[in-house]
């Protein structure tokens, strides 16, 4: 919709020429840009507007400068004061358009000057932040049947001063589709290289034979087994097996038992260990007291 009337207005020239004679028009239009304070000093820009060809290069408007247009509107040739005398500034990116009515003064001898004073601060923010030059169209029209005038007369280039903060403009909330979001997951914990863990595993496992070997070297043996079993067969066997059983229970608990499956069994086995153990150990002690150890 913004662009709908962008393209046709390129045709305006042709039309303009066509309608130049009859209908609304203007002559001796002068556009000038002057810095505030030092009016008409160096750097001031001045040019003449044509009613059918836009100015070749864009008019630049600085931070503190003001733009001024003076022209005489004519209806079918003679100067007259139209009801609508607007200067349209269109942002070519967004198609936003702002309109500035020209102040009209009645001067003597039936001729009408239009003047507009415009500096950056009367421009809406959206236009200030435009990237391309603004496209300026001049409208002259009034009631009645006279053909109105609308023509692209020049381009306006807004220059903002880097020293002064650019006016901030954040787009207002409008309902619409939002950007897609995908959650970024934390990386899973990793265990170190398998080789190293294998190495350590082997080392740990190797510790067992070493231990046994050292024991054997220190003269460990099971030669009292017959004597012990003879002395207290039940308690010894029960004690040892119960200890084995306890380890087995621990393994099952580690593997898939729940606490409540494990506790009662462990309790029973523990009791057995306690009772048989006291017997068996006292037997051992008796051996020691007997000086056999």
């Amino acid at each position: 919709m913004r662009f709908s009337s962008l393209l046709p207005s390129a045709l305006v020239l042709g039309a303009g020429i066509a309608e130049a004679a009859s209908g609304w028009n203007f002559d001796e239009a002068i556009i000038s840009v002057s810095a505030k304070g030092a009016a008409g000093a160096a750097g001031a820009f001045k040019d003449k507007l044509s009613d059918h060809v836009p100015l070749s290069k864009p008019v630049t408007l600085g931070q503190t400068e003001t733009l001024k247009i003076i022209l005489t509107a004519t209806e079918n040739g003679e100067p007259k004061r139209p009801h609508q005398a607007f200067l349209l500034l269109r942002d070519q990116d967004t198609g936003l358009e702002e309109t500035f009515p020209l102040q009209t003064k009645e001067s003597g001898k039936g001729k009408v000057d239009f003047a507009t004073l415009k500096s950056q601060k009367d421009l809406p923010i959206q236009l200030l932040t435009s990237s391309q030059p603004l496209r300026a169209t001049l409208l002259l029209a009034s009631f009645g049947s006279t053909q109105a005038f609308a023509n692209h007369v020049f381009n306006l280039d807004i220059q903002t001063d880097p020293n002064v903060a650019k006016p901030k403009y954040e787009k207002p909330l409008r309902y619409g589709q939002l950007g897609e979001i995908n959650h970024i997951f934390k990386a899973d914990p990793k265990s170190g290289p398998v080789i190293i863990s294998l190495l350590f595993t082997v080392a740990v496992v190797a510790a067992v034979p070493i231990l046994f070997g050292s024991w054997v070297l220190l003269g460990a043996n099971l030669s009292h087994l017959p004597k012990a079993t003879a002395a207290a067969p039940v308690s010894h066997s029960l004690f040892f097996s119960s200890i084995l059983g306890m380890e087995g229970i621990f393994f099952l608990y580690y593997y898939n038992w729940s606490l409540f499956e494990m506790l009662p069994v462990a309790g029973v086995i523990g009791l057995v260990t306690f009772l048989s153990g006291s017997k068996a150990l006292s037997e051992v002690q008796s051996r020691r007291l007997a000086g056999e150890r």
Binding site: P162, N163, A165, K166, K168
Partner: protein, 329 residues
């Protein structure tokens, strides 16, 4: 923000100037300067140039008054911290990725600036964000660090700056190792060790003496149970004068106390327990019945009176406490 406006106005000409005759990058200029000596010593002109837009760097500027006649205690306290901070930052950020300039403007060289900012007090720490470049946020004026609770340590200021300059490197503050202190400590340690080795034979009996230990532990217990830690933590006054010339020994109110008060209480506890100990241990060892009799009466009396006094004191603290013993009611 009025002072910001003042700032801008005071800067406009300079800004124009800078914009015209500074084709070489301002930042590199300052950066090279501050690599040699940081923080930069500023005067009005340099300050203006440093803070003039457009800036593609940020700058932290300390406005201070070091001369004695201003009598700015805070300034002098903060100065070493400030130097330390800037030095360690610059050292840590040789490549100047944080694009931060440290500057110090003393009132002597910067009267105009102080006036333009309408500053009455010093020190003031201003941080100027860049107006152009990746981290630009132009409309924010210089943010100001408040010293309203005393001089700040370099770390605190560093934290503040780091908050302001997000997503930029923040070289940490590195304090130079305090050699003298270390040496002092080591020497003292060695000295004490030698002393111990020499004096060990004399110390040993003291260390092994039960009475000493008993005394120490009892004192400790009495201290703690009479609310000494409360004084230590809450920094309560020692005594407070009541309206009419005298001093009030006991603070009204259940959860408040004075230093002296706790000592009185500790003394009472001590006396009570000492009397108890005597009753328990000394008295039965007195060979002479008479003296023993007297001792019992004396100690028993002391306990009774002291306890009743303690109760009465407690009744001061806690109104509505129903129990008491004669004679103090």
């Amino acid at each position: 923000m009025h002072f910001l406006r003042g700032l801008l106005l005071s800067l406009l000409p300079v800004a124009a100037l800078a914009a015209k005759n500074a084709p070489v990058d301002k930042f590199t200029k300052f950066q090279t300067k501050q690599l040699s000596s940081t923080p930069l010593k500023l005067d009005d002109a340099i300050y203006a140039q440093l803070t003039s837009a457009p800036r593609d760097y940020s700058s932290v500027i300390l406005l201070t008054a070091m001369e004695d006649r201003f009598g700015c205690q805070l300034c002098r306290e903060f100065q070493p911290e400030w130097d330390l901070l800037s030095k360690s930052w610059i050292k840590g950020d040789k490549m100047a990725e944080s694009r931060l300039i440290f500057g110090t403007l003393d009132f002597i060289n910067g009267k105009a600036t102080f006036q333009s900012l309408g500053l009455q007090t010093a020190p003031v720490l201003l941080l100027f964000q860049p107006t152009t470049g990746p981290h630009a946020n132009p409309e924010a004026g210089p943010s100001r660090f408040d010293f309203n609770n005393g001089a700040q340590s370099a770390e605190q200021v560093h934290r503040w700056i780091a908050r302001q300059l997000a997503d930029r490197p923040h070289p940490p503050v590195v304090r130079p190792i305090n050699w003298t202190r270390g040496i002092a400590i080591t020497t003292t340690i060695l000295a004490s060790i030698t002393f111990l080795t020499v004096a060990w034979p004399y110390l040993l009996p003291i260390l092994q003496n039960r009475n000493v230990w008993a005394a120490i532990s009892l004192i400790a217990i009495l201290l703690f149970t009479s609310g000494h830690m409360f004084n230590h933590i809450r920094k309560v006054p020692y005594v407070v004068s009541d309206g009419k010339g005298g001093v009030s020994y006991f603070a009204g109110g259940f959860s408040s106390q004075y230093g002296l008060e706790t000592q009185i209480v500790a003394a009472m506890y001590g006396l009570l327990s000492f009397a108890t100990i005597s009753l328990a241990l000394k008295v039965p060892r007195i060979a002479d019945p008479k003296t023993q009799q007297i001792a019992v009466i004396v100690w028993g009396g002391i306990i009774f009176v002291m306890y009743s006094f303690l109760l009465s004191v407690f009744r001061i603290k806690n109104g509505g406490y129903p129990f008491w013993l004669p004679p103090f009611s």
